[in-house]
């Protein structure tokens, strides 16, 4: 697998505050990568540095496979978080214009624009002024203009965040097709979107990489066995739960099998080290103390749990 992009120690400071504090990652050709992080994590800032719109304070961005003297922008397709066009142009005119700026011939640009507008579902509206487009239509037009020159790397900033559930499904479907054609990097704050589309994730939090790697690998590396216990509204049972939580940290036998207990109302969530032993210990307790529980479930932590943990700290 060939490397397409290498980012090293990227820093961006706005005055005193650092929005991006030394991010490093690389992107393999043909992979789909999600830049995942909560609001204000620095996703947009990072992406704008990749596109060259923002000058990094420090660090380097290297594109491989760039011929000598070639503009790196010719490899890039970029869809901003909220794309702005010339509202007096029609969708068709804009995509042709974008194609011409990327060096396509008039005939090629026209052909490409037609294909792409069809593909993003704007064939009907192609002749209408962009000023009259809805937000979702603008997002799709943004995608069409980003793809016009068949970029090697498609960079998108929150491509589906502003869409309604239906638009979201449509664009996600489109991206699924696209990722087999080109390398994709997109940012999102929704883990689910990343899981659905991506091979790799880079989780960032307050300007730093918190975790990165291939999704299946992250999933298996950070997977923890957990037991969930739901109690009834029954005072002695709830008392037991509070006591059990305290005892666990003190009792050696318990703390050897149970790593962590979270209690929320009638829910008890145990992250365990050894599932068999923990199960044994817990069921003994439950029987001895006559705890009234309504549900007992053993399983594994999800990526969502990991994400919340990484991001929430």
């Amino acid at each position: 697998m060939k490397e397409l992009l290498q980012v090293n120690g990227l820093v961006k400071a706005f005055g005193q505050a650092q929005a991006v504090k030394g991010i490093s990652f690389h992107i393999q050709e043909g992979r789909c990568t999600a830049l995942l992080g909560p609001n204000g994590a620095g996703k947009t800032t990072t992406i704008r540095m990749l596109t060259g719109l923002l000058k990094p304070t420090a660090g380097s961005i290297q594109f491989h496979g760039l011929r000598a003297g070639e503009d790196r922008r010719s490899l890039l397709g970029y869809l901003p978080q909220s794309p702005a066009f010339h509202n007096w142009m029609s969708g068709m005119e804009y995509v042709v214009y974008a194609g011409r700026l990327c060096g396509l011939s008039p005939a090629e640009a026209k052909q490409r624009a037609k294909e792409l507008l069809e593909r993003v579902g704007l064939a009907e509206a192609a002749k209408r002024r962009i000023g009259g487009y809805s937000g979702g239509m603008k997002q799709r037009l943004g995608l069409a203009q980003a793809l016009v020159h068949r970029p090697k790397l498609l960079v998108m900033d929150e491509p589906v965040s502003a869409l309604d559930p239906i638009g979201r499904r449509e664009v996600l479907g489109l991206l699924k097709e696209l990722k087999s054609e080109t390398t994709v990097l997109f940012s999102t704050h929704v883990l689910h979107d990343a899981e659905e589309l991506c091979d790799d994730v880079i989780i960032i939090r307050s300007g730093q990489v918190a975790l990165q790697g291939a999704l299946p690998q992250i999933r298996s590396e950070h997977r923890r066995p957990i037991i969930e216990l739901k109690l009834e509204e029954h005072a002695p049972s709830l008392e037991w739960a509070a006591g059990f939580e305290q005892r666990t940290s003190a009792d050696e036998r318990l703390s050897a099998t149970i790593e962590e207990i979270e209690r929320q109302g009638t829910m008890l969530r145990l992250t365990v080290k050894d599932m068999d032993k923990a199960r044994q210990a817990l069921t003994e307790e439950l029987a001895k103390e006559k705890v009234r529980f309504s549900r007992l479930e053993a399983g594994y932590s999800s990526l969502e749990d990991l994400f919340m943990k990484v991001v929430g700290e």
Partner: protein, 262 residues
């Protein structure tokens, strides 16, 4: 820089001027200004008479202006109202695209920053030189109808000199619209510069001969036929062209340093 991409950008500027009707109303205003000057000059005695307040039997003696004087008057009208209109029309040339984010989408394409700036500049120039020509030619025609013929050569020379002064100020508008976020700020700065240079030329013409603002004076002289190319004439042309080139290069450098606003 690629000529094809530059032309694509320029064509977009023209299309925008057409769709926003700038391509129509600006030449129209210039044509109106150009016609108004000979007309008001011609009917001035009648107008004053009709305005009344004249004692009974008073005779109004007004010297009939020469054709060249009428044209010089037209130029000075262009220099005030025309310049104001052009500056307002183009004050958001770069800042508008940048503030809306439309510039980001263009500047992530393999397009040189100089092309982007040059396309804006060329778009301004075609409209400026075209509107000025239409307005000035209209004035020339009505002057011929109502007063007398003015020779072609002085007409053309004064047109070019005045156009060069306008080019200088519009380049300043472009530079300020790249430098400042506010469109109004760009217009005021450029018009302020025009006023300042004109005032300085008025106060100390001896020391301001090299200034672009002395081009207006040369244009008035040129149309009235009393023009002899002095040393300061060459200086002012050279300095103006140099400053225009510097303005374009400066705008391009500013854009390169900060392609998008953050």
């Amino acid at each position: 820089m690629s000529a094809v991409k530059l032309m694509t950008l320029v064509r977009k500027e023209w299309l925008e001027q057409l769709r926003s009707f700038k391509l129509i109303w600006i030449p129209l205003v210039f044509a109106l200004l150009g016609i108004m000057q000979p007309l008001t000059n011609y009917y001035m005695p009648v107008i004053i008479e009709k305005a009344g307040n004249m004692p009974e039997g008073a005779v109004i003696e007004m010297p009939v202006p020469s054709g060249a004087e009428v044209l010089a008057g037209t130029l000075s009208q262009f220099g005030m109202i025309g310049l104001l209109i052009l500056a307002l029309a183009f004050m958001g040339a770069v800042s508008g695209d940048r503030n809306s984010g439309a510039a980001s989408l263009v500047l992530v394409k393999p397009v040189s920053f100089l092309s982007f700036i040059l396309s804006k500049w060329l778009g301004m120039m075609t409209l400026l030189w075209g509107a000025l020509l239409i307005g000035y030619a209209a004035s020339w025609y009505y002057t011929w109808l109502l007063f007398e013929t003015v020779d072609f050569a002085p007409f053309l020379l004064s047109y070019v000199l005045y156009g060069l002064w306008f080019t200088f100020i519009l380049t300043a508008v472009l530079l300020f619209s790249t430098l400042l976020r506010s469109a109004a700020g760009a217009a005021f700065s450029a018009l302020g510069l025009a006023l300042l240079l004109t005032a300085l030329s008025g106060i100390a013409p001896k020391y301001m001969g090299w200034s672009p603002s002395s081009l207006t004076g040369f244009a008035y002289e040129a149309v009235q036929g009393g023009f002899d190319a002095s040393a300061s004439f060459g200086w002012s042309i050279g300095v103006t062209i140099l400053l225009i080139a510097a303005g374009i290069a400066g705008s391009s450098a500013l854009l390169r340093r900060q392609p998008a606003l953050d």
